[in-house]
């Protein structure tokens, strides 16, 4: 008889591991934890979103007993429409998370029927050989859970995205008791959130943001606008609470913000007296110091409400001197330029703008180093895999684990697609499965790959130049052209000389080649080489060059 082996495989991630998708497999049973999307890096030109390569799961779908979701952020649920397009596994999520999944599935496929199940912290669930228990964790979205998975090789604990907030806005603290109990039972493997492994100390409580809002509202002479993530229900709650205590009414602006607020109110995750939330039209009739607004656009997204307000292009609401705008978020790397543009524009319109560099109007949803150590010491795992981070975060988290006493040999720094094989005795990283990611561009999932991206990079840098020439298929004589078509290279209207020179070069290259009765491919290569050299000498640029020879 072979030894029982649990296989753990993180999928997806752009340099990160485990945030988007995690596979647990034992014998004939498999579960998937989270199924999220990634946002494209700057280099990934034209790509809309990136999803995990799910091949491994699809090929073993007969084993898949369920998909469990820790919380409702895009990087944990955004891949679901693509997975459920291909298989019909049951999905388990808490009520708010389920609500967000339903909105997402509706947008993707209005008539799809997914097999969704609501669970809540404290519930148990059996999926094949796996016994799951869900426990509450605090994060920047309510209703997050961590998961304890009882497996044939031992207990595995997945932290979800967590922080230890002692004064969360919804009053529900991370379940210390459960974590301690799991620790007492004996945890074979802990998978824990590494996002803030670079930050010493503790992440401040969400409550602190409320205190800052209080200061801002107390001093604001006119309207107060707060931009934050549409999913940050607790932050929205704090705007409502602060507005209430300063006798202000609250307007909600931005499509996703409006949708989420409606859903959170219905499900009871947001608490607002009847007459506090008002439509923008009604707010316009109130004195400005009785108005507060929550809005999308904290990341400078081009079409978002705040970006349009900052540009003076949002019809429902104009920024005026006396307005106070609070950007209650920190920039996701890559968004700095857009956010700064918004701030500059808002200042220009006369608003007083308050953002993270000026005041602590945002806190992270992830625990810092002391919280990561607390998680480790509560759970006391025998083996440890840092997840939810780039390599540097994992490496730093691994150091923390070693400091609190986890055996260095039992800490695994994994990459996407790595397979951790865990037995009751120990673990080792054994091999790699096909993993990585898939580009979604328009309707295409996967068609745009490295060849297309490489071409886009060349085009983005220096444009293209195409030489079209008609050649008599019998004689090989040039009967038409060469015509030059070029975009993104030089300003054509002012580059007649260069274009004429290029035409001349093509003609000469053709003449030289004709003598040798060359194949078309040789002829193409010759034209390309000649043009490439000429254009580089003249401009020190390397546009994409394509000769098109038409036989007529």
């Amino acid at each position: 008889m072979t030894e029982p082996v649990l296989r753990l495989i993180p999928l997806g991630g752009l340099g990160e591991i485990g945030r988007n998708m995690m596979v647990l497999e034992y014998g004939n049973d498999m579960i998937v934890i989270d199924c999220g999307l990634m946002f494209p890096e700057n280099e990934m030109l034209g790509i809309d979103i990136v999803i995990p390569n799910m091949e491994y799961v699809l090929e073993r779908q007969n084993k898949l007993r369920g998909v469990v979701i820790t919380h409702g952020h895009e990087d944990h649920i955004g891949g679901l429409p693509y997975l459920l397009d291909q298989i019909s596994a049951p999905v388990y999520a808490t009520a708010l998370t389920r609500g967000l999944i339903e909105v997402k599935l509706q947008e993707y496929h209005p008539h799809s029927k997914a097999n969704l199940h609501t669970i809540e912290a404290g519930d148990s669930l059996r999926l094949g050989c796996f016994g799951l228990e869900f426990f509450h964790v605090c994060h920047s979205i309510p209703d997050g859970v961590g998961i304890a998975v009882d497996t044939p090789v031992g207990l595995v604990v997945h932290s979800g995205d967590f922080k230890f907030d002692h004064t969360p806005v919804d009053g529900r603290i991370t379940d210390f008791a459960k974590l301690a109990e799991l620790g007492q039972r004996g945890v074979h493997l802990l998978l824990s959130d590494s996002t803030n492994a670079e930050s010493p100390g503790y992440t401040p409580s969400e409550m602190m943001v409320g205190r800052m809002f209080d200061r801002v509202f107390a001093e604001a002479p006119g309207r107060v606008l707060v931009a934050t993530f549409a999913s940050n229900i607790s932050r929205i709650q704090q705007v409502i609470d602060t507005a209430l205590s300063y006798d202000r009414k609250v307007g909600v602006v931005g499509r996703s913000m409006v949708n989420n607020v409606r859903m959170a109110l219905e499900l009871g995750y947001l608490d607002a007296p009847d007459d506090v939330l008002l439509p923008i039209e009604r707010l316009r009739q109130l004195p400005e110091d009785q108005v507060a607004i929550v809005t999308t656009g904290s990341q400078g997204e081009p079409m978002s409400a705040l970006t349009r307000m900052a540009a003076g292009e949002f019809r429902q609401l104009q920024i005026v001197p006396g307005d106070t705008v609070v950007i209650s978020a920190t920039p996701i790397p890559g968004n700095e330029e857009s956010i700064n543009n918004n701030i500059n524009n808002l200042f220009r319109l006369g608003a007083n703008v308050i953002y993270d560099q000026l005041m602590d109007v945002h806190v992270s949803g992830h625990g810092a180093q002391e919280e990561e150590k607390l998680m480790l010491n509560l759970v006391q795992p025998r083996h440890f895999v840092p997840i939810h981070g780039e390599y540097r975060h994992l490496a730093l988290h691994a150091k923390l684990a070693e400091e609190v006493g986890v055996d260095l040999d039992n800490i695994f720094l994994m990459m996407s697609g790595d397979v951790l094989e865990l037995t009751p005795e120990g673990g080792r990283v054994a091999g790699q499965v096909s993993a990585g990611y898939v580009f979604v561009d328009g309707l295409s999932v996967g068609n745009v790959g490295h060849v297309v991206l490489r071409d886009r990079k060349t085009l983005a840098r220096d444009g293209f130049l195409i030489a079209v020439v008609g050649v008599d298929s019998q004689t090989g004589r040039v009967v038409s052209g060469p015509d030059i078509v070029s975009r993104g290279f030089v300003y054509m209207a002012e580059s007649e000389d260069l274009i004429e020179e290029a035409k001349g070069a093509v003609v000469r290259a053709l003449e030289e080649t004709m003598g040798h009765r060359a194949e078309w491919s040789l002829l193409n290569a010759k034209v390309k080489e000649t043009l490439s050299e000429l254009l580089y000498n003249r401009t020190k640029r390397r546009p994409m060059i394509l000769p098109v020879v038409m036989e007529v």
Copy 2:
């Protein structure tokens, strides 16, 4: 007689003002302060560098009495080659700044002869009606100056880039006495650095970085590599000093670092005993705990030494476990992804990486809010123009000025190209001159503009598709094609069906149009429209579409 008017005009800047170029003009005399370049924003695809639109200066070159440079950073000197290409004005700079300008001019035009003059802090200089006095300011490069300009309307003080460092590495503090004296004489207008107007308190002293280096060197088991800006001579000095005290030899890696170190040693701005600096080959023979390296690449520049080391592609030097790598810089916005990639790769190679999020191994070269207020209170200007910042920095700096007592009506928030007219009585922003910026792409200065960039954006997002068709010029009949050429749109090898469909659409469009004896332009439009609709329906993408009809 008309009243005497001083005109002050900031030029250049991508959203910033005054950092790259500042014009002072009175009657028949004009001087320019600084002549720098800008680094392109992410949106400016393929652009190498951006320089100020210098039209205003070029058109009035007969009035130009001189160009004075405050310090040797790219954003203050990098535009000089382009200006001096067109006019031969005298340039005034301190010795180190002049050294850096000479290197730059050599690279650009090996045989050009510029009219350079060395000045030093404490010097006076008359340029037309302007009397200039230079005073020392601390910054992240040695030998920086601020400038007091005695003009017919009153005294104008330009702070340069400054901080009030009480313990600078070269021992030369910002000249408090001079600033106070100017304040006593009566300053009509202060132009002051706004870079850190978002930061409360004081910027820490450069000395603090030395203390951190000391901790790092004390604990490092193997080699210590420090990455920083090649121009940060004081930082390099601190690496040398710390290495000395731990009996380590120092290697210098990276072309610009090697050049600057050589120049700074020659000019006496860098102090190193004879046997401390060694070539890499010699360092290889030493035990690892006797080795330190200073290197370029702190911003993750693709071809830099550190980036190549992190990728394992730097032949002279391989990163090994036990190495400590210090990234002694903060990311310039837009560089975060590249820097993080380097850090991840270095951790993967087993190095211990220390960077700003983990330890204070970098300080800014610009003063924070308390220093900006100190400058204002020393100089006590009647009028104030915040410079060197985006609008948000200027707005925040203006608030500080108001707090320390500058009359709100005398504070001017300017934009690039704005003209401030200053008389002995007061000032006002009166009109705009052509300003903005010019793209440098390869050899071209200005040829690449908004049309080319707009095309590059389209190409970067969705690529292009060109339909080529040969048409009999007599009959209008299609005699060849349609051929489809496409790049950056779909993966062609897997898109045969779509390409065939596109060809069919072109044929149909041509047939429909032929019946109407259409002009070529109509025919082009019809083909484009048909293709555009088809491709969008099939892919939800909008590649650039170009029909090419060849008459044969």
